[in-house]
């Protein structure tokens, strides 16, 4: 039996993976099995198909259905040469430069096979956790230096300790999979490509803090991920990984998937909890922290999906092995997601410390269009635009903060020199206006005013005076907003103004996006 591997990740489906599978099924003949996997993260090569050979898996991509007859004639099934042949994926420069810890299995295993999961190191972390006991698990996560991968970078171990120490009849683990930042897809890739890793991480969290119920809050924009994760939950329950007696330990942990309804602000942890409770996704004032009074008023660990999915490997390999990677107070690895106008787009998991320039120029290969890079937006819609003159910034929480930026959830969107930064600043304000939960005036009203003021500047109407108004408005939003939606929208806006003043010179180029 010859085995072919074709991703079922939605990014592969979006560029025709199912049509390639159909062509292969019809033409490859008897004795060929097609395994559907997650994505390796080399998205620009999707659909990327692989064949199992004695030399390892050999990849070809990007493959269209029209390529299939030629590939088969050339000897695809034995890994033979062909213009689309990539070789072994792990030897590809894009993969060689990575440190795959959290994403070690993604794109390799059948995401819905627990046997595959076990064969590739799955459940080692949980097995250790059960033997260590709760306190040691919390200590291990703390020692690893893991910080929240959802944006704020708060130490995960400290959060867990707070919940572990809280006395309550019921506690919850909530996975924040409301990945709303443009340019990010790491959570989605795990949901689709290695769901048991998240489940294992959440079970470990539950054991560590004494929680017996978990929720994964995903998004309606991820229908494929939600379908496949639902299947993974069923399999996990059948296998006793979740349920009343986790792997025969006598401990119980239940897990449910919930799906949002198209509100960016529900990624903010307290708005997310409100949403889970069935309310409007309004941000809560802190304190109280969710660790004390969280879901349904109970102590709650709420972590980003990547934070939770990094826990199994931390326990399996040990805190020190994880903490040995990184720079300063940013320990371990980060799944950097390269998106937009880049030549090599996809997911690049690397130790902290790599510079932004290495990521853009070397890893991402510059722009897709071949034109010069003008700006990169890091950390989603609330993140700053960096010009090439700041590409020496190391990828590290503190280094980005020092330059008025954020790494956020690890997204990097590349723009070439055709981008008009006034239009980008306007969009940042517009997005804030659309997604504001409405609780604070600077965010709710200020964002709409921001759009108007930028329009005036772009039209050349009293440009200098209106620029002063914009700066003032950004200050008010920054300091007068309850959460980072209103508070950080000034970052993309002001970074565009600072680094690209020529795009705000009032020359009359309208930043207005047509067909509003």
């Amino acid at each position: 039996m010859i085995r072919l591997f074709v991703p079922k990740d939605v990014s592969a489906l979006a560029v025709g993976a199912d049509r390639v599978v159909k062509a292969l099924t019809q033409q490859a003949g008897e004795g060929v099995q097609i395994v559907r996997t997650g994505s390796r993260g080399m998205t620009w090569l999707e659909p990327l198909i692989e064949v199992e050979t004695p030399e390892g898996r050999i990849a070809y991509g990007p493959v269209t259905p029209a390529d299939v007859p030629g590939l088969l004639a050339a000897g695809l099934l034995s890994g033979a040469d062909h213009p689309l042949r990539i070789g072994r994926p792990e030897d590809h420069p894009f993969m060689v430069r990575q440190t795959r810890l959290t994403f070690a299995r993604c794109g390799i295993v059948d995401p819905l096979s627990l046997d595959d999961y076990r064969a590739h190191g799955g459940l080692e972390g949980l097995t250790k956790a059960l033997a260590m006991g709760p306190e040691a698990v919390v200590a291990e996560v703390t020692a690893s230096g893991l910080r929240g991968r959802g944006g704020a970078g708060f130490p995960t171990g400290i959060k867990w300790k707070t919940v572990a120490d809280a006395a309550a009849d019921r506690k919850y683990i909530v996975c924040n999979a409301d990945e709303g930042d443009s340019g990010t897809f790491a959570d989605r890739m795990i949901l689709e490509g290695d769901p048991f890793c998240l489940i294992e991480g959440m079970v470990i969290a539950g054991l560590a803090v004494g929680a017996t119920k978990g929720f994964v809050y995903s998004r309606s924009e991820y229908p494929h991920a939600n379908v496949s994760f639902t299947e993974a939950l069923i399999l996990a329950r059948e296998a006793g990984l979740i349920g009343p007696d986790v792997l025969g330990s006598g401990r119980s942990f239940e897990l449910e998937l919930r799906v949002g309804a198209g509100a960016y602000v529900c990624g903010e942890e307290t708005a997310l909890l409100e949403s889970l409770e069935g309310k409007r996704g309004m941000v809560r004032a802190k304190p109280p922290l969710p660790a004390h009074i969280g879901l349904f008023g109970k102590p709650t660990v709420i972590n980003n999906l990547v934070s939770l999915a990094s826990v199994p490997v931390i326990l399996a390999k040990g805190a020190k092995a994880y903490a040995d990677y990184g720079l300063g107070r940013s320990r371990g690895t980060m799944p950097i997601q390269i998106a937009g106008n880049a030549r090599y787009t996809g997911l690049f998991e690397a130790a902290f410390g790599i510079t932004l320039g290495e990521i853009i120029d070397t890893v991402a290969g510059g722009t897709l269009s071949g034109r010069p890079v003008k700006a990169v937006q890091c950390g989603g819609p609330l993140g700053a635009y960096f010009p090439p003159s700041l590409f020496d910034t190391p990828y590290d929480y503190e280094a980005f903060t020092a330059r008025d930026g954020l790494i956020g959830h690890g997204g990097i969107v590349v723009f070439d020199d055709s981008v008009q930064m006034g239009a980008q600043a306007r969009f940042a304000m517009e997005f804030c206006a659309i997604e504001s939960c409405g609780k604070c005036t600077p965010c709710r009203i200020g964002s709409t005013r921001g759009v108007e003021v930028i329009d005036k500047i772009m039209a050349g109407t009293e440009a200098a005076a209106n620029m002063a108004v914009l700066e003032d408005l950004c200050q008010t939003m920054k300091y007068g907003s309850l959460c980072a939606l209103g508070g950080f929208t000034p970052y993309p806006v002001m970074s565009a103004v600072r680094h690209f003043p020529e795009d705000f010179n009032g020359s009359g180029i309208s930043a207005k996006v047509p067909a509003e």
Binding site: A14, D181, G183, S220, P223, G262
Partner: protein, 163 residues
Amino acid sequence: MASKTTNLVADWDPNRAAEIINAHLGLEGPALPILHGLQAAFGCVPSEAIPMVAKALNRSRAEIHGVVTFYHDFRDAPAGKTVVKLCRAEACQAVGGREAATFLLASLGIGWGETTPDGAITVEPIYCLGLCAAAPAALVNGEPHGRLDGMALIEAVAEATQS
């Protein structure tokens, strides 16, 4: 914004609505799962359902109405037969997403969130499908499409309307 169309996924049926509501009452925080269930069945959250949900959850009508209107997903009238969820966010903007969107909307003669007068096609803005490494991207009747330009987008929509 969204213009009214007549092609309900299912006609309003209070018994069906009651079934959907009851099926979720055992959940912790059942409101969103109920609203998703109603919209899956009826193509929208029918106004008739709101008092039923309120009663079942022991909350006020105003509160449930407030929940429904907070979330961008929930509609008060069904969408067109073909729904295009087109990403408007930055990663798609960086590779021609604005131009592709403008091309589609102009050729359909509608704006964001609107439905063609014949009820065939609705175009909704989406802020990120997680297809940012294969941008610009859209979901057309749930089918993912990446690396789009204006023409490819129109072809994808035409194919969906014909099937």
